[in-house]
């Protein structure tokens, strides 16, 4: 399979008083054609910034410091011209954002805003645009697409707006769809619908997905491969099945034990102690999870761990894997508190 997007040694820097703080550090990931790739992490882990850096949409004062982002193995998105980047945005790579309530311009009709994408990428025939929009609006499940086209964002519900966003994102048949927390702001009942829709349509259009979320359930439902991010770095990368069955990194284990399960209600929900350190607190040396890790060793505070291969194509950035093979460790759950 061919690579659609390859991120190599990416660092994203916050520039403050001419000093550079690495908010995202040494990030590597590869998304193949038609693959559904997930990035999961707490807020502040740098997952959204990573997604914004791909289309060079980083907010003021934050920029890519190092590394490259390759599209189709040839175009490096870090240093393409503004013009080329405009051609890629919405056309080869498109994006869906978290908050459908504010992601659409309130003053223009849906038709205007969706047709804009086509217009920006060279479509001139009004009829052609209308046909494309009608097809896609039917695909995203609007019963009366014509009426939706004529309405303004405030006349639609959150779920409907997110459908509009999906239609808008897919109308140019992009190679990659970046979805940054696409369901977080929606009702639980709508969430599954939107995820199904994304899955279905990206398969139809041969589009790969990069899904950013803090919700492991969303990852399990949607993705094939997943990277777990913590404090600006990928701590574990694996296929979704491997990650859920055999989590390797202490942070991933912590995350998985903090997920509610209906089966066992007696257990108190686990919480990883502490918070994600802010970029200012990060030290250059050592593992970024060291301060919260229950298995912390001396080496963790001194040297940043390498990415160890735990299994076939399952990587974990933790010194624990450096010890003798078969070294197993169990996560400290709070069994004692069960009643």
């Amino acid at each position: 399979m061919t690579n659609v997007l390859e991120i190599k040694d990416l660092s994203i820097d916050l520039i403050k008083n001419k000093e550079r703080l690495h908010i995202v550090n040494n990030l590597n990931l590869t998304i193949m054609k038609k693959q559904k790739y997930g990035i999961v992490g707490e807020s502040g882990s740098g997952k959204s910034l990573t997604s914004l850096s791909i289309l060079n949409l980083l907010p003021e004062g934050i920029e890519v410091g190092n590394g490259h982002i390759l599209l189709n193995n040839d175009t490096n998105l870090v240093n393409v011209s503004k013009k080329d980047m405009r051609h890629i945005r919405g056309n080869e790579i498109s994006m869906i954002f978290q908050e459908p309530m504010t992601a659409l311009d309130p003053l223009f009709t849906i038709e205007h805003q969706v047709s804009e994408v086509l217009k920006f990428h060279g479509e001139t025939s009004k009829k052609e645009m209308h046909n494309k929009m009608m097809t896609l609006f039917e695909q995203v499940g609007f019963a009366r697409p014509k009426q939706i086209l004529k309405s303004y964002p405030h006349q639609l519900s959150g779920g409907m707006r997110q459908r509009v966003m999906i239609a808008m994102a897919l109308i140019c048949k992009p190679k990659l769809l970046i979805a940054d927390e696409p369901t977080t702001a929606l009702d639980v009942t709508i969430q599954a619908q939107i995820l199904d829709l994304m899955n279905e349509l990206t398969e139809y259009y041969d589009t790969s997905i990069l899904l950013i979320t803090h919700d492991l359930g969303v990852i399990a439902e949607t993705c094939e491969r997943v990277a777990v991010m913590y404090a600006g770095t990928v701590v574990e990368e694996a296929s979704v099945k491997d990650l859920f069955d055999h989590p390797a990194h202490p942070y991933t284990k912590g995350l998985l034990s903090s997920v509610k399960s209906l089966g066992d209600r007696t257990k108190k929900l686990y919480a990883i102690p502490g918070n994600v350190p802010s970029p200012v607190e990060l030290k250059d040396a050592g593992c970024r999870f060291a301060s919260r890790c229950p298995f912390v060793m001396d080496i963790c505070r001194e040297k940043e761990p390498e990415l160890f291969s735990v299994q076939d194509r399952h990587y974990s950035k933790c010194w624990l894997h450096d010890m003798e093979e078969g070294s197993t460790y169990e996560y400290a759950t709070t069994d004692s508190e069960s009643s």
Partner: protein
């Protein structure tokens, strides 16, 4: 839309009624006697009394108000107590001067202010932004009369030019008329520009930080489309509010600038009438000015609804 406008116009009635009562009472409360100012200090008490009776000033207040109002409702604003001229035609002819001054000033202000405000917002915290902010602050805070005096002095001393004296209507001699109008318009325009510039900058800046701007960029829009089609339209509501207030105020006459450049505008009319205690002229012009002010704001409200679909006509 139509019913909305009708309803808004009906809402003007109580406002104008309030204004008319207020100005009617104020004119009668302030010290000074129109008969005295007309006849001079040597007039006999009998002559003064006679004149007051001629003007109907001896009648009870509510009768006086009723007489005035019944005239106004049939568009008869009465006659000037000083000159005996009909008031409404006088107001209208002076309003054309004020209207022209406002129009040119506003155009000057917008042409400077809106692009500068946008540029400042786009290049936030740059030297350009810093410059724009200083200029706009100067525009807001520098007094009109001082600026007018400086311009007149500089033109006279450095360029040996002095603007023509004596007003000429636009339709009599357009070029001479514009020559007369341009300097007062620049003076008015720069002070209007300051406020509009500041509002444009902050408003565009706020919109540029919104999520939907990121969406538009992510769609592949050129920066030109982002700024002029989306950001500016969204930023327009607060800018329009400022513009509406400024234009409304200016259409009521720019007393100081009209005085300095001896333009026969509304401001001058009111000022002279107040000095002469010409009740009828003051009442009539103030009512007219209030009417224009609320009308401008009504227009702005209709524009809001036109720009923003979330503001409904109902």
């Amino acid at each position: 839309m139509f019913t909305y406008v009708i309803r808004r116009i009906l809402m003007l009635v109580p406002v104008l009624f309030g204004v008319s009562v207020l100005i009617f009472l104020v004119m009668r409360i302030i010290p000074g006697d129109v008969a005295q100012t007309i006849l001079g200090t040597d007039a006999t008490p009998e002559a003064l009394q006679q004149l007051r009776e001629d003007f109907g000033l001896n009648l009870p207040l509510h009768i006086q108000y009723f007489n005035w109002m019944s005239g106004v409702l049939t568009l008869d604003f009465g006659e000037s107590m000083r000159t005996g001229k009909e008031i409404l035609p006088d107001i209208l002819s002076r309003f054309t001067v004020t209207f022209e001054l406002t129009l040119i000033s506003a155009l000057i202000a917008w042409i400077i202010a809106i692009p500068m405000g946008i540029i400042a917002a786009m290049k936030r915290n740059s030297n350009t932004d810093f410059g724009v902010r200083i200029v706009s602050l100067l525009g807001v805070s520098f007094p009109n009369f001082a600026l007018a005096t400086i311009i007149i002095l500089v033109l006279a001393l450095v360029f040996s030019y002095s603007p023509p004296v004596g007003y000429v209507g636009f339709f009599e001699d357009p070029f001479k008329n514009l020559e007369i109008m341009i300097i007062p318009a620049i003076v008015m325009g720069t002070s209007m520009a300051g406020a509009v510039m500041r509002m444009t900058r902050s408003s565009v800046l706020e919109i540029l930080m919104q999520d939907f701007i990121r969406t538009i960029r992510a769609k592949g829009a050129k920066e030109r489309v982002v700024i002029f089609q989306h950001a500016l339209k969204n930023a327009m509501i607060p800018i329009l509010t400022i513009i509406g207030l400024q234009v409304g105020t200016l259409l009521g006459g720019a007393v100081i600038v009209e005085q300095i450049f001896s333009l026969p505008g509304l401001g001058q009319l009111v000022l002279t009438a107040i000095n002469q205690r010409d009740f009828m002229v003051v009442q009539g012009s103030v009512l007219f000015i209030a009417f224009i002010f609320v009308l401008v704001n009504l227009l702005i409200d209709i524009l809001y609804a036109y720009i923003d679909p979330r503001i409904s006509y109902k």
